[in-house]
């Protein structure tokens, strides 16, 4: 293993451990358990659609819980390190800024993987308690959620490098996440617009990640698998945010 890769892993592991140690993590774990359990009540009311409602509601809550926690973490991570001067101890050492930023994003993704796995266990336990088995395509839905989180978390890191507060990073990233779920509709409308206005709108809309691509249940039905081709846009948007963030970080003074 090269020295720089070792540095990247050290930052990633530290970032992951910081997330797991955080009291917020405990709070979100309790929230996730409560929320998923609450879906049982909703499921009972659905009568003959109970399995579907329990599955959809649980998966939605899983995604929103992980999203909220990770966006909070990504929005505050660099700001907190600057405020506490921890960043001085890092960048006064021979740590390349690209390795630091990549390590931070990798740490968040490790946290995302752990959160999704933990909440999936809780969710599946609730389903089993109600007498239902593993929903078809379940792992693909989680994989799609993970890809969405990768895209939006790296975007949040990018925004946090120029925004003035953690709140503005959270708001901008949340807006991007929402827009990303309406990307196809927005592009359709842009195509309807003609001339320069349409071209300009189309260009800006292509900067918005199409998060609908990663909705496995939307894409191919309940039993659908995510096509391997979605990895490319996920990697592209994640990398674009990372490179943008790196450009800002390499010029940043502390």
């Amino acid at each position: 293993m090269t020295g720089t890769l070792r540095l990247l892993l050290a930052v990633a592991l530290n970032s992951f451990l910081e997330s797991v140690r955080s009291r917020f993590f405990t709070m979100f774990a309790v929230f996730a358990f409560t929320a998923v359990y609450a879906s049982v009540l909703a499921g009972v009311m659905a009568v003959d659609q109970e399995a579907r409602l329990l599955t959809d509601f649980g998966l939605l809550l899983t995604e929103l819980t992980a999203l909220a926690y990770l966006l909070f973490g990504a929005s505050t991570a660099l700001l907190k390190e600057a405020e506490t001067k921890t960043i001085y101890l890092v960048f006064s050492r021979p740590v390349p800024r690209w390795a630091y930023l990549a390590g931070k994003i990798c740490g968040s993704l490790l946290t995302a993987a752990l959160m999704l796995a933990a909440m999936a266990v809780i969710h599946l336990s609730v389903l089993a308690f109600r007498g239902f088995g593993l929903p078809p395509g379940y792992a693909w839905v989680l994989a799609g959620t993970f890809l969405k989180l990768a895209v939006i978390v790296s975007f949040a890191y990018f925004v946090s490098l120029f925004s003035t507060s953690a709140v503005s990073t959270l708001v901008i990233s949340s807006i991007m996440w929402t827009l990303g779920h309406f990307a196809s509709e927005a592009r359709f409308l842009a195509e309807k617009a003609e001339g320069f206005k349409g071209a300009l709108l189309g260009f800006f809309l292509h900067l918005i990640p199409n998060l609908q691509l990663f909705n496995a249940r939307d894409a191919a039905g309940a039993a659908g698998a995510l096509p391997a081709s979605v990895l490319l846009p996920a990697a592209g948007w994640t990398l674009a945010s990372y490179l943008g963030g790196l450009w800002l970080l390499s010029r940043k003074e502390f």
Binding site: R6, Y88, L89, R93, P94, F254
Partner: protein, 244 residues
């Protein structure tokens, strides 16, 4: 005489964006000095004199707007320079849940250490800073003095040739100050150069062989130990005269 750090015509201006245009503040200007190898050099000045800016320029956390900073002959942002410098910022922070060895191991990894050399560096650092008896405690249980020792410990991990210490005895009780002073004297006796800033003239007087006095971003005076020892008012008198 060999120099570990050299500043040549250095200027650093901070830009603060505002609604009615950016505001500029020059923190240091036309700064030229050297830090000799193997010596303890002090940096004195009132608040806002540019002490922390100088420390950040040496450690590559800030970039100069004009002039040249060299650390062991390299640009301070280069890995070759950073590998030879240990930095203690004022009031260092460590996550409250971790134990000192965990914190040191993390910073040791960031200094490029791993495996047995990392474990040995952590052990030596714990021992030198007197933290061994507190190895089982979490940082949240640490006093200010113990945090400062831990801060020094992380700066020592990779065996740097130059220690840059921003207010190393700030807010410490007399016993902790005594211990830190003894530790720094020991490190200097090993041949390491130390560059420290402080508001405590008496501390600087006890530790340093040379002192730089900063006034409003400019170097007002460079004083050697022999000079303040020969002065009836001591270093304090020279400092007050320089900043008035």
């Amino acid at each position: 005489m060999k120099h570990v750090v050299s500043f040549s015509g250095v200027e650093k201006t901070y830009k603060r964006p505002g609604l009615l245009g950016a505001q500029y503040h020059t923190a240091v200007k036309d700064l030229t000095f050297e830090i000799p190898a193997g010596e303890v050099t002090g940096l004195l000045g009132l608040n806002g004199a540019g002490k922390t800016t100088i420390m950040k320029l040496i450690t590559g956390l800030l970039f100069p707007n004009a002039g040249k900073v060299r650390v062991f002959g390299h640009n301070p942002a280069d890995a070759a320079a950073k590998a030879r410098v240990g930095f203690l910022p004022e009031l260092p922070y460590f996550p409250p849940q971790v134990r000192p060895e965990e914190a040191l191991a993390y910073y040791g990894r960031l200094s490029g250490l791993s495996g047995a050399p990392l474990a040995e560096a952590v052990r030596i650092s714990m021992s030198r800073t007197g933290l061994e008896p507190h190895a089982g405690k979490r940082v949240s249980e640490f006093s200010k003095g113990m945090l400062q020792r831990l801060g020094l410990g992380q700066a020592l991990l990779h065996g740097p040739d130059l220690l840059v210490l921003d207010e190393p005895v700030s807010g410490l009780d007399p016993l902790a100050i005594h211990d830190i002073r003894a530790l720094l004297a020991g490190l200097n006796a090993e041949g390491r150069a130390i560059f420290l800033s402080s508001h405590s003239i008496s501390e600087v007087e006890k530790l340093c062989s040379r002192v730089l006095i900063m006034v409003r971003g400019a170097l007002a005076r460079t004083v050697k130990r022999a000079e303040w020892e020969a002065s009836p008012a001591g270093l304090e008198g020279i400092f007050v005269e320089a900043v008035k």
